[in-house]
Amino acid sequence: MNSNDIDKIELSGTKAKGQRPWFLQDKQTEQVLSIAMALATELAVTRERLATLEAVLQQQHILTADAIEAYRPSSAEVAKRSEAIQQYWAQILRVVQQDKEALSAGDKSMEQLQAELTSR
């Protein structure tokens, strides 16, 4: 058996079992904060990739800014990028995915679990 049957994108962002605390006065605001933090992370990752790219380009004198503008990805590359972008949005919207999972998870609160763990 292998991992063909699992949805890796959904699974990578899946909710941890246990009721999630919301700290801000308005839950949606906190979800937006979480999205902003994920975006900020991805922007920093992109910056780092660009920095690597620039360094490599400088070292090898092989590409110019023109070449980047003129470049057209192949259909195989378009497909690869499409998958990457799907993972990208799933990452940014993790908090919404997990809230969706919470709707049917029937999670117990830490207080409930604590009562159970300390009474048994």
Binding site: S3, K17, W22, F23, V95
Partner: protein
Amino acid sequence: MSQNKTLPSWRALTSHEVMPEANHDDVARLNVLTHLNYHLGSRVLPGVKQAFEQHVKPAFVAQQQREPETRHEIRQAMLQNGYFQFWSALRRSAMEMRHQTGRIVALRQADALSAQVAALNASAPHSLALDATVQVPANISEVDIHCQPGCYYQEYFEADVTVAASYDVGLFVTTAGLLGGLSDGGGQAIVNWLALQHPDFKPKRILDIGCTIGHNIVPLAQAFPDAEVIAIDVARPCLRYAHARAVALGVSNISFVQANGEDLPQFADESFDLITTAMFWHETSHSAMPNILRTINRLLKPGGLTLHLEQPQYHQMGLYEQFIRDWDTYFNNEPYWGPMHDLDLPAMLSQAGFNAADMFDVGVRAKVDERIFGKREAGESGEDYGRAPVWNAFGLWKKP
């Protein structure tokens, strides 16, 4: 601590054969999140104390005509404070991003990882014993501890090791690399302490309970190459991965066994010289812990040592520190963290049949390569409580 300390890259981790491969952007993401945690711990968290001292406590005193008397009163009051709310929201979000990042890396190569782990395990079939009859105990099946989806035990397909691999990838992010190249600072701390304090102690049989991916038992197996080491856990993916990881690291004297530490009938009375746990008790329960302690007492040879790495008990610290360390209890899916740290450990040991007067408590610290991983002391300003490489070890020598 200089606020602009350079943190190591995730790439500074020692590579081993079963560690999932991280690409350029994975590494960048792991590093960005590591820096986010460091930023939250060193620059945002000190504000939580200020919010308490300057706003929340005075307001509490004005209203109640007394100071808060428990960490729970502090928590209830702080939950109304905007700064605490925001820090908490950021910290929770950072933890969720750590797990998602580790899982992306592990899931992407799930089949390759499970194949590689299977091949390594097949090369040493006698030192891995899985047992499908072992049930996952309620203390970890009811909640995904520290927000780790799938906890330690979930398998998404047969022979899956995703949760274990993702744990190995992500640990660095929470500890900012302070556990060293193989995330084994805890195990190294035990080895270090034994070498300094008890150089003549040469255990022949060692048991580690709740070994997870075996990262902290490997240094002990290496320090005592002639010893027979048995590392148990209930979680299959972790055991598979731990065994393959040990084999890949060239360690052949550890047997990984799927078993519940509450009852280990397969092992004879007084058959181990050293029994350890690392960061384990706070993930058990009021019923599991006495059972496991009784088992340890039964299995330990007279003259043997049992040693446990944990965070310090709450009674040793002020209320604010208790409150801030207790964050994980309520907000990071660690419901037993607080209750465990309230326990009277000597009383627990004594109920398990030990002589409580023999118990000792000692601070041990990781001995990692400071040139790469830097150095941080406990109690240093900006310590992210509960996440520094300094532990409180308790234990006892069983009277011969």
